[in-house]
Symmetry: C2
Subunit: 307 residues, 2 copies
């Protein structure tokens, strides 16, 4: 199976979210609602700030990937809700800190004031710290064998860290601004900044429901490639789409002279790269046959989406 | 056993560090050296910043408490090095973020430029994030039973979190500045901001070497009380000692109108409270007899120290 190539010269076909996305999103939101301390829990300001950003309208792509990976192995995906929500907390912390004046200095995120605009910088920094901390507490509480919980914790912490992980990618991304970046560094940035945590979402979904070592390894490759394709697509959309469609400032990568696939490879080639990566990702799912049909739908959506 | 009360009117007797502190400190530093990515690991700027703050001359009180708690149960404390170093990473991250302009806005820490002064705010924020993330990766790698590793992770994440944990205490501390604070809030701040992570250091030391539930519970009470006493003593030293002795700006609590024990109870009563807490902590160690002699030495040092 390959992902349909889309030429930049033909008008894009709007790609709808698969119907199960909305159902999963509601399940994830209900679980996040339970996991996050209430706004009345003292000190209330930090809990308000944590909730503000977690419930700011994210698409929940990472948790949905986690849940739908678990579903390959059975209908009960309750255990996967823990790593799914933990990873969404990590994703949210990274956005809060990324938006800070010292980093990307963004005032708006998904059409709403960013955390530091709403609560001040001190609270925004601490809310990010708190979400990262809570994430590990939540993974540790997963209803799964202790060995599996430790394996998930290692996967997730590594993916969020500095050596081929999210923070490492963010640092390299910041350092690359305004510089001519080679293909190798561009790949490092995208795989570390974005693909690592998406890979961990998929791997954790498999681990918590008892998948075999070889299935975990196969799904890890799926997650890595689809996460990479996702970031290449993000770069493309930043060029092709309007701010209204994206819900964030379009054209920002060019303005900030970010290291992106369109900047290094051009748009046409970037589309091909995203499609190739998605095709390679989907090929890993073959042995799971129909059980992986939802993961295939997500993979296609992630490279054909317009926002 | 009670801790000798010291009147504020007599000149303080200098209290020396117990000799084993230096030995433990070197062991902890050697392990941190192995755990932290080298300065040459890409992206090097973040690894330089992480190492700069971790090796800035901390006394290693938390890791030493962790190691010496493990030593009650046997001579091999190798397993305890993992949570010990992880907690030092968490402590270091909290100092880096606390020093930021949006929080305490400190230029110096232990006589050296703070992280954001040395590396810029963006790197300082990310270095803190990275140390917190690495901490959980390190705990997950402890050579101990998986159940015990998960228990340590939960203890440590809770102690670092917002509900009666470190971040909650920091938030309450910031919010209390310039306000009249009641005794209950003062207690909440000190127990959350400082005692929680010290309690986790002790508890993790016991957990990783297989201590029984009742021993873990007893040592948790020791850790809670000695951690609380430690923060009350910090408040006292901020009033009584010079900046040179402390290696940081003295009198800062008063200048910032922080919620402190001397401000609420006066100096004499604050000394009594610190001594009472230390005495209660030490009483918990009675059943361990001579095996806990080093923990007793640490407890006494923590309330009798002058820096």
């Amino acid at each position: 199976m390959t992902v349909a190539n889309r030429s930049t010269s033909t008008p894009p076909t709007p790609v709808k979210l698969p119907a199960f996305f909305e159902e999963d999103r509601l399940t994830v939101d209900a679980h996040l609602e339970k996991l996050l301390p209430s706004e009345n829990t003292q000190p209330s300001s930090i809990h308000q700030a944590m909730r503000y950003s977690v419930f700011a309208g994210g698409k929940r792509i990472r948790p949905i990937l986690c849940l739908e990976t678990a579903r390959i192995f059975g209908d009960d995906v309750t255990a996967a809700l823990h790593p799914a929500c933990a990873i969404e907390c990590i994703h949210t912390y990274s956005l809060i800190h990324d938006d800070l004046p010292a980093l990307d200095n963004d005032d708006l995120r998904r059409g709403k004031p960013t955390s530091h605009k709403q609560f001040g910088e001190a609270t925004a920094i601490l809310a990010g710290d708190a979400l990262l901390t809570l994430a590990f507490e939540v993974v540790a509480s997963t209803p799964a064998d202790a060995e599996r919980r430790v394996a998930m914790l290692t996967e997730i912490a590594t993916a969020a860290g500095t050596v081929n992980g999210m923070v490492g990618g963010q640092v390299a991304d910041l350092e690359a601004e305004g510089k001519t970046v080679g293909k190798k560094m561009l790949e490092y940035i995208h795989r570390s900044k974005t693909a690592a945590l998406i890979r961990a979402s998929v791997t954790a979904g498999a681990l918590c429901v008892g998948a075999s070592k070889s299935d975990v390894a196969r799904l890890r490759r799926f997650g890595e490639n689809i996460g990479w394709a996702f970031q290449v697509t993000d770069d493309i959309l930043d060029v092709e789409e309007s701010s209204t469609a994206l819900g964030k400032t379009a054209g920002k990568d060019i303005a900030q002279q970010k290291a992106t696939y369109p900047a290094v490879y051009g748009l046409e080639r970037s589309h091909e790269i995203a499609n190739d990566l998605a095709t390679r990702a989907i090929a890993e799912l073959a042995p799971f046959e129909e059980k992986a049909s939802r993961l295939r739908d997500i993979a296609e959506y992630l490279v054909l989406r317009r926002a």
